[in-house]
Amino acid sequence: MSLIQETDFGTPKSKSETMVTLTIDGNQITVPEGTSIMRAAMEAGTQIPKLCATDMVDAFGSCRLCLVEIDGRAGTPASCTTPAMNGLVVHTQSERLKKLRKGVMELYISDHPLDCLTCAANGDCELQDMAGAVGLRDVRYGYEGENHVFAKSHGCENDNWMPKDESNPYFTYDPSKCIVCSRCVRACEEVQGTFALTISGRGFDSRVSPGMSESFLGSECVSCGACVQACPTATLTEKSVIEIGQPEHSVVTTCAYCGVGCTFKAEMRGEEVVRMVPWKDGKANRGHSCVKGRFAWGYTTHKERILKPMIRERIEDPWQEVSWDEALNFAAAKFKGIQQKYGRDAVGGITSSRCTNEETYLVQKLIRAGFGNNNVDTCARVCHSPTGYGLSATFGTSAGTQDFDSVEQTDVVLIVGANPASAHPVFASRLKKRLRQGAKLIVIDPRRTEMVESPHVKALHLPLMPGTNVAVLTALAHVIVTEGLANESFVRERCDWSEFQDWAAFVADPKNSPEATAIMTGVDPNDLREAARIYATGGNGAIYYGLGVTEHSQGSTTVIAIANLAMVTGNIGRPGVGVNPLRGQNNVQGSCDMGSFPHELPGYRHIAGDAVREQFEAMWNVKLNKEPGLRIPNMFDAAIEGEFMGLYVQGEDILQSDPNTKHVVAALSAMECVIVHDLFLNETANYAHVFLPGSTFLEKDGTFTNAERRIQRVRKVMTPLNGYADWEVTIMLAKAMGFEMKYNHPSEIMDEIAALTPTFAGVSFAKLEELGSVQWPCNEKAPEGTPVMHIGGFVRGKGKFIVTEYIATDERTGPRFPLLLTTGRILSQYNVGAQTRRTENVVWHAEDRLEIHPHDAEQRGVRDGDWVRLTSRAGETTLRAEITDRVAPGVVYTTFHHPDTQANVITTDFSDWATNCPEYKVTAVQISPSNGPSDWQKAYDEQARNSRRIAPVVEAAE
């Protein structure tokens, strides 16, 4: 293994299809029109010296090192800013160029420290490389003059010198090493889209400046790492590189945070990760990253990781560390005992959306074939199960229709109930890039999110009351149909015409007009009409949506309404359009694909279908139950009724993530054996009897499937600290229960998945090795996968329009609970925070805050930062208030990343009519000033502390 060196072509790739041919150093080369001479030369294998150019950002032409000579042209143009043209004859090396370049380098080095041996960039410094490339041997100017290098000159303070900025937990800014190439500034603008950095001053006074000469941490910087990656010197350097040194080998793998699925190079020294660097060939992220994937991997070696199996008879007892055998036999005996006493259906399991496809597949196999029932569910139940239902009903597949590249061809983006800037940051950066090029943006969200207003981006915002999605989307359809904006030819060709007519008559009803629904939705009818016209007539229209759509009583109806909108405008079946659910967790798409739902086998096929079930029975050599099993909320209900007594939970923290915590506590407490398989003693483990240590994404092989249906490799870079990858633990647990599964490597599990699942038929580790990644369906018809779905026709045949009647949720405001609480995420934290809370990311978000409008706050005597009591019909908690007009009067908002806040104590039992996906996004609440934690929080905290005790190991006497 060695360090993967990615070629830097200096300037971005041109997408032109017109080709031009030129001669560089006597060699003919043909490149797309718009390619720079620098890039053309690099493609031919000639590296022209450069400092300010890098292919992640546009050419800038400031360093004057990449000069070339062109026959018939005067002077020495910069090759980065000069486009290749037919017939040009270019020389990259001549006496004149050599002299000029040496002169330029000499000036650079005359204001740069010469501490190369002890510099963190030693071994990875472009400045040093270029000094070598141009043959710089002497710096005639010396270091006595004005400089930015030394703290003191001639015994006095040097006003030009600036100390290091170490405020960011993950990287340092050392201004003394800066060559002012602007690569960081341009990366922040062009790649990330945050515009946090600038160059202050002119000439010799030019400095990289976060905001108005602020610290990095104090500025708008979101710590995505693009600037650090772009820096050619040690000016911006990962602290891990400073501490450890340069990596010696690297492995390409997939991030284990959100559903964007960024590809990274894990840069290693032995089994120690030095840094994670986004991979330019990653098709989801194209070389970009966010603060989580790039930097927040410290949890993988956090001291709180549990590395030894533990058991206990009662949850009141302290944990006892035991051997793997003892823990597995204990668990198996308990589960078998429960099945004997309460029946075969009294146990079940939850697959993890953070684990690999192979691991998820094994857990559902263990449950269906080993436990002998279909009581398997996954965290998608509480996030995107309505997507599965809604898109399957209308289009015929339970997944997004596009790849992320598609956004580059989009003209109108409609975001519904999603905040990609916080939850899917790398996609948000790609989207913002398109918006800065002129695409239009409409945001439907109760809150003025970061997407609504950001540098050079201004959305048409429809701030609706939480819970009224269906009314708003149906009103959009009303405008499209009644104003004659429907794409009739598309509908006639691709959709069921009579169903369309029924639907069109329904939406055209005046009761569905923007004016009639405004009283419920709170959306200005003129804005809504404007949004409908833009989406229907603005060119390629793409819808991106998130949990603000699905986590409602009418979640599935909302997904259907979205699909209807895409069909009626013909925005489906080609690049640049489509319906795109933004998946929350890294492998939530994969866990759904792998048959994690109780009613369907891998590939979304109902368990009652004899032909499909028989295939699985033949492969697994066991008779399967043909009845659908329990969904997570049904498991809880059954537990409380004394009929569901054992649960195996892999890599999920249902106690923190699921709604109505008191109900979950009651259910878990009622069970006789809860097995938690996780990295940490999470909240669910407080109610567990067996703890099986889990492994991180760095410690195993497998695949994740991201929100674009893209299957990507996860590669092992270190030995599991707990001893076993999660797939091995599931096999051992199955064996202890008497069900043998034999696999030597996850690739064999994928082979079995491919053999049983038509949409995965062409997937294998060998193919992933060859192509990097594939998007399912990948089979005989599409051997290299399917970037865009429904081209030429819908998977189900004719697209199905379904009437979407708005039915208000039964969670209503009233005199006791006059405000609506809605929930969401923040950039630096992930899901329940189990991983990110164990990293330095806590500097950005150490606690959940309650956002409240100044008007509502004033009425209740709440000041910014005050502790407030948040009460709903389900429970109460306390947290601190943040007064902001991001939320409308009547609406409050919080995140759910911290267990001590327990936002889910507040959320209720209401759920989506079709899938029981909980209604997290609407809870009627009241707020009052408070002195501190609620009784529930105190009791919970005490129980948690008690429950996490681990008994000291007593060494046996010799």
Binding site: D345, S553, P628, A638, E805
Partner: protein, 73 residues
């Protein structure tokens, strides 16, 4: 929504409300199919027991759909 029949009745009616706008016949078909596809046998048994006890609280479409489903079972 403490005791189980109440919760199941509520869930069944929620399903019914979605299909209601499609007219009685299609609604009955849609509701029965949905419950057959997504409810586990334990839940179906409980709702059938409630149906036998008079089916209090069930909306008309839902009542018809459950009767249809039980005949098929």
């Amino acid at each position: 929504m403490s005791s189980s029949p109440d919760k199941l009745v509520y869930m069944a009616n929620q399903i019914g409300k979605f299909f209601h706008s499609q007219g009685h016949d299609r609604a009955v078909q849609g509701i029965s199919e949905h419950i057959w596809k997504f409810w586990d046998p334990r839940m179906r048994k409980q709702i059938f027991a409630h149906l036998d006890a008079g089916g209090a609280g069930l909306d008309p479409d839902v009542l018809d759909a459950l009767q249809k489903l039980r005949q098929q079972a």
